[in-house]
């Protein structure tokens, strides 16, 4: 929305052509696959628009922790954050795929849920929460799905060392110290 104007003003007249956009979000071809980079604030709107474009199925949703990979290549104008939520959509009618990558800051790891658009994203969002601690706002049942429910920390984070926890299951009634490390 607002970033359309900023690119116009800041670049010189002979600057490279306007980057491609889908519903206001930057779009790039990466390894022959279409990837959309929406801002987090516009994420839900872009997803809604993509669903209206005919992407009926949310095939996959996962999180990535880019703690050790801060210099990854992203289109200009996208601020690199620690976490990314990656959603792969599929259109059965048009037989094509599209991928959406949204940046999620470490200080506030929350993203709106896609549950109301694709109910099938429910388990996958729970997995991303469980594994990476990315909270999905308005998710109906945001609880751990793969780890035990009293587990501390989120194991797929890069600062969660393998073998960090010596004993897996605690005795009941032991108060949890809670939360991610």
């Amino acid at each position: 929305m607002s970033d359309v104007e900023t690119t116009d003003e800041t670049t010189a007249p002979e600057a490279p052509p306007e980057p491609a956009r889908v519903h206001g979000a930057l779009v790039e071809e990466r390894n022959g696959q279409t990837v959309v980079f929406p801002e987090r604030s516009a994420y839900l709107d872009v997803m809604k628009a993509l669903k209206d474009d005919g992407y009926e199925m949310c095939v996959d949703l996962c999180g990535v922790d880019h703690l050790q990979n801060p210099d990854r290549s992203l289109p200009d104008g996208i601020v690199r954050e620690r976490f990314e939520v990656v959603v792969n959509l599929l259109s059965l009618s048009q037989k094509r795929r599209i991928r959406v990558r949204v940046q999620v800051p470490e200080s506030d790891p929350t993203v709106p849920t896609l549950f109301r658009l694709w109910p099938g994203s429910e388990a996958m969002e729970r997995e991303a929460w469980d594994m990476l601690g990315i909270a999905f706002v308005d998710h109906p049942d945001l609880s751990r799905i793969l780890m035990p429910e009293d587990w501390e920390g989120h194991p797929l984070r890069k600062d969660f060392a393998q073998g960090r926890v010596p004993v897996q299951f605690k005795a009941p009634n032991q108060p949890s110290t809670g939360g991610a490390r």
Binding site: R30, N31, G32, Q33, V35, E56, M57, C58, V59, D60, C62, V64, D65, Q68, N69, R72, S73, V86, N88, L92, K95, R96, R97, R99, R116, L117, W118, P119, G120, S121, E122, A123, M124, E127, M131, P140, D141, L142, S143, R144, I145, L146, M147, P148, E149, D150, P155, L156, Q162, P172, N173, Q174, P175, S176, G178, G179
Partner: protein
């Protein structure tokens, strides 16, 4: 309201994973557990306020099915809210087999990767290996030799047969046709014997690797494969006699666990579950990969979306796979079985004896591994259970930065509350069986 569940759950920060009494459940969650949470664009959207809590709690009870129940195919636990024998709500509780394979995958080189991912879907291990290898090759931008791709397709189709044969066996067993279990297992074992001959192992082959396959097909493979096809084809007709036309089997599966195409698509279900609703979606046909475009086969679809349709689809997919295998045997070209790219492929054994450089090169590939250019890629292929996908992020090193496998069973399990709702608890066994989940892949 603190009496009805374990104290452990109340102490957690994130809340319980279990099915809770209605009075303690958020309306939106309740709606989902009732299997009625579909927001269809054309239909009237349900709002949480529409949920009628019409059932008083003293008339219902919540029971656990699993994780030790024999017909939940491993360690699946389904919590059911029952009114008499009718299922009102249900919730699959998973994670009992979680071994952190995605985390382990970040610590293994690309060459070691297949050894890890092959243990996810242990009934169709070659598909997970294949999708991982395809993703790595896409990042490396290498083209594997034609023979390697044909070998992959041959092995995958045989694996589809063995996986569906095991479904035949377990589905029969779950519904009381115990003889079917013996037959299905017998035929599957023949396919696995061929796998053992080719890869050295019955399961967990690590045979399909980035760059090609681990070894060429053994001498006489053609005869073995054709013999297998000649044998299994007529046996399928025997299954038809044993199950398809049998009134008891039909009554236990027809109209049981019905799901509509809209529900299946909204829930992300793929594979036989989606096809049973009449949606002709098969990645081999619709988004062709490898050489499936050159082959002649049919996509089997159902009509009613019930457990019988899913059984019939799998039975006929074995027939289609036999058809495919016969075609692949015809066209199998000669040539290399792995790519001749010095970056990825170690030098042949004979060269190591005569060349110091070859020895160093061999050592480096197996200790450090080969580097994969920075990038990210998603590849999806059609496994016996639906779309198995691999999302791979590389930071330019010799190990994946992030390796995520999209397990078809993991997503397909979400259809259970929809299919179970309103049915009998005895039908739950038939429905869980018809989803054909593999818990190794669900929990990863």
């Amino acid at each position: 309201m603190t009496q009805s569940w374990t104290p452990m759950e109340t102490d957690t920060s994130e809340g319980g994973q279990e099915l809770r009494p209605r009075s303690d459940t958020d309306p939106l969650e309740l709606l989902r557990e009732q299997g009625a949470i579909l927001r269809l664009p054309e239909g009237p959207a349900l709002t949480p306020d529409d949920v009628a809590i019409e059932v008083t709690e003293d008339e219902t009870m919540i029971i656990n099915m699993g994780p030790q129940h024999p017909s939940t195919h491993g360690v699946l636990r389904v919590m059911l809210e029952l009114e008499g024998e009718t299922v009102l709500r249900s919730k699959p509780v998973i994670g009992y087999l979680h071994t952190g394979m995605e985390k382990i995958g970040e610590d293994l080189t690309y060459l070691q990767g297949p050894t890890n991912v092959t243990r996810m879907d242990y009934l169709s291990p070659l598909f997970t290996e294949c999708v991982f290898s395809l993703a790595v090759e896409k990042l490396l931008e290498i083209e594997v030799p034609a023979r390697a791709t044909w070998i992959r397709m041959l092995m995958c189709e045989l694996n589809r047969m063995s996986s569906h044969l095991l479904f035949m066996a377990t589905n029969g067993m779950d519904l009381g046709a115990v003889s079917m279990m013996i037959y299905g297992w017998r035929e599957r074992e023949m396919v696995l014997a061929f796998f053992e001959k080719v890869t050295g192992l019955r399961m967990n082959h690590a045979y399909i690797r980035p760059g090609g396959v681990a070894a060429d097909l053994p001498p006489g493979w053609r005869d073995d494969v054709l013999e297998l096809c000649d044998l299994i084809g007529p046996r399928l007709d025997e299954y038809d006699e044993l199950l398809t036309g049998q009134p008891i089997f039909r009554q236990r599966t027809e109209g049981v666990g019905v799901i509509t195409p809209e529900q299946a698509i909204a829930l992300g279900a793929t594979g036989p579950i989606l096809r049973s609703t009449g949606t002709a979606w098969d990645l081999r046909k619709d988004l062709p990969y490898q050489y499936y475009e050159q082959l002649d086969f049919d996509v089997i679809i159902g009509q009613y979306g019930d457990a019988f349709d899913r059984y019939a689809i799998r039975l006929n997919e074995i027939r289609e796979s036999i058809k495919l295998v016969r075609q692949i045997v015809e066209v199998m070209p000669a040539g290399d079985y792995k790519v001749q790219d010095k970056k990825v492929t170690p030098p042949p054994r004979a060269r190591i004896d005569e060349s110091m450089e070859a020895l160093i090169h061999h050592f480096k590939i197996f200790t450090e591994g080969f580097r994969v250019p920075e990038g990210e890629v998603y590849v999806g292929i059609e496994s016996p259970r639906g779309e198995v996908g691999c999302y791979l992020v590389s930071d330019g090193s010799a190990k994946p930065y992030r390796m995520h496998i999209r397990g078809p069973s993991f997503v397909n399990l979400q259809t259970l509350p929809v299919m179970l709702r309103g049915g009998l608890v005895a039908d739950a066994v038939a429905i869980i069986s018809s989803v054909d989940p593999v818990m190794g892949e669900v929990d990863r």
